[in-house]
C-alpha cells in the first residue's frame, strides 16, 4: 500500500490528477495501490476517511477557527437601574 501522504502530495502537484473526475481518480489510485480509506474519501468527497486512517488527528478549523483579527468591542454599557434602584452603589 502506498503511503497516503505521498499520494496526496502526488495528486496535489499533478494537474491531471488534481482535477480528474472522482471516478477516474479512484481508478488511478487503485493502480497506485492507494489505501481503501483514500479511495473512499475520493469516492465520497469526505476527507474523514483519510483522517481516521492517519490516526484521527484533527487540528482543523472545524474545531479550531483560524487566527482572527482581534476585535476589542467596547465594554457593554451598564444596565439601566431598575425602578427604585439607586444609581449610586
Amino acid at each position: 500500500m502506498t503511503n497516503t501522504i505521498d499520494l496526496l502530495e502526488s495528486i496535489a502537484t499533478d494537474a491531471s490528477l488534481r482535477h480528474a473526475p472522482a471516478h477516474d481518480l479512484e481508478q488511478m489510485l487503485d493502480a497506485m495501490h492507494a489505501s481503501d480509506a483514500l479511495k473512499q474519501a475520493v469516492r465520497t468527497g469526505d476527507a474523514v476517511h483519510v483522517k481516521i486512517e492517519l490516526g484521527g488527528k484533527d487540528g482543523s478549523v472545524n474545531q479550531n477557527p483560524p487566527p482572527s483579527n482581534i476585535h476589542m468591542p467596547p465594554p457593554p454599557p451598564p444596565p439601566p437601574p431598575s425602578p427604585g434602584e439607586s444609581i449610586i452603589s
Binding site: L8, E9, A47, V50, L54, K57, D58, S60, V61
Partner: protein, 284 residues
C-alpha cells in the same frame, strides 16, 4: 596555526523568525521559498487548517510543534489569550538564538494576528523577522467563485466588525464577509454562533441590500482530493442556513457603478491641454 575558535570566541547566535504561508491546499500551494524557510529552520511552529496538512508538514522538518493545543477545549478561553501565548512561545525560541519558522495556513498576514505581532515584537527586540506570503482563502475564492476584484471593487470584512462597529458599505462593490459562522461573538471564546446572531447580521446588511439579494456561501478545498463548495441562497435565508467557521459569504454588488461626469470632464480637459501642448511644441 590553530584556527579553531573556542565557544566563548564565537559570536552569540542570533535568533530569527520567518512567518510563512502554506497556502490552502496541501501540496499545491507551498512556494519554493517558504519550503526553504521550513527546511532551514531550527524549530517549526504550525497553525494549520487540517491535521493531515500538519502530518505533511512534519515530513519536511523533524521538529514541528503544533500550536493547536493552545486553543484549549474551545469553551472558556478567549482567543486573544491563545494568540498571545503563540507569540510568547515563538519568541522564547527566537530569544534562545534559534532560527524559527512559523507556518500558517493560507497567507500568514491575512486575518491572522499572531504573525504580525511576533514579527513586530521580534524586530523591536533586534531580531531578524520576515513574512513570506502564501495563497490565501481570498485568492482561492476569486478563482473558484469567479470574481475579479478589479471589475467593480471588492470589500472584505470580518463579519463581526459590521456588528461591533458602524461600518459604511459600498453596494456598488462585492462584499466578502469572513467568519460568518461565529459572527457576533462578544465573548471572543466561541467557535460558532447561532441563527439569532446571523439574523442580527442580516438586519445590519438589510440597510444596504434587499433581503432577496443573492448570498454566496463559499468553502475552499484544503486537501487535493476535495473540491470547493459553493452554495447560493438569499440574504433572507442566511440565518437559517448552517454556516461553518471556515465558510465565507459573498454578496454581489446591488447597484451599478455611477459615472462621475464632473471628474470625467476634468480629465478630458487635461487630455486636450496635453494634446494642444504637444502639437504646439512639435510644430516649432
Amino acid at each position: 596555526m590553530d584556527t579553531a575558535q573556542t565557544e566563548t570566541d564565537m559570536p552569540n547566535p542570533r535568533g530569527s523568525i520567518a512567518c510563512v504561508g502554506l497556502g490552502m491546499v496541501l501540496g499545491s500551494h507551498l512556494s519554493p521559498l517558504s519550503r526553504s524557510h521550513i527546511e532551514q529552520a531550527d524549530v517549526v511552529f504550525a497553525a494549520l487548517s487540517d491535521g493531515i496538512v500538519e502530518l505533511w508538514l512534519e515530513r519536511m522538518h523533524p521538529d514541528v510543534r503544533s500550536l493547536q493545543s493552545y486553543y484549549g477545549d474551545g469553551t472558556d478561553k478567549p482567543r486573544i489569550d491563545t494568540y498571545r501565548e503563540w507569540v510568547e512561545v515563538m519568541m522564547t525560541e527566537v530569544r534562545a538564538g534559534k532560527k524559527v519558522c512559523a507556518v500558517f495556513y493560507g497567507h500568514p498576514g491575512v486575518f491572522a494576528w499572531s504573525p504580525h505581532e511576533v514579527i513586530r515584537v521580534a524586530r523591536e527586540e533586534g531580531f531578524a523577522a520576515h513574512m513570506e506570503p502564501g495563497i490565501s482563502a481570498e485568492d482561492c475564492l476569486y478563482a473558484d467563485v469567479g470574481i475579479d476584484p478589479g471589475r467593480c471593487g471588492c470589500q472584505h470584512y470580518e463579519a463581526t466588525q459590521l456588528l461591533f462597529y458602524k461600518t459604511p458599505l459600498n453596494p456598488q462593490a462585492y462584499l466578502v464577509l469572513w467568519q460568518v459562522g461565529l459572527v457576533g461573538d462578544l465573548s471572543m471564546k466561541r467557535f460558532s454562533t447561532g441563527p439569532e446572531y446571523r439574523q442580527v447580521l442580516v438586519d445590519v446588511l438589510s440597510h444596504d441590500y434587499p433581503l432577496d439579494h443573492e448570498a454566496i456561501i463559499y468553502r475552499g478545498a484544503t486537501l487535493p482530493i476535495q473540491q470547493p463548495r459553493i452554495r447560493r441562497t438569499t440574504l433572507r435565508e442566511l440565518p437559517d442556513t448552517d454556516i461553518s467557521s471556515e465558510e465565507t459569504v459573498v454578496l454581489p454588488p446591488t447597484q451599478s457603478l455611477t459615472s462621475n461626469d464632473e471628474i470625467l470632464r476634468r480629465l478630458t480637459e487635461i487630455d486636450r491641454a496635453q494634446i494642444t501642448s504637444a502639437n504646439t511644441n512639435g510644430g516649432i
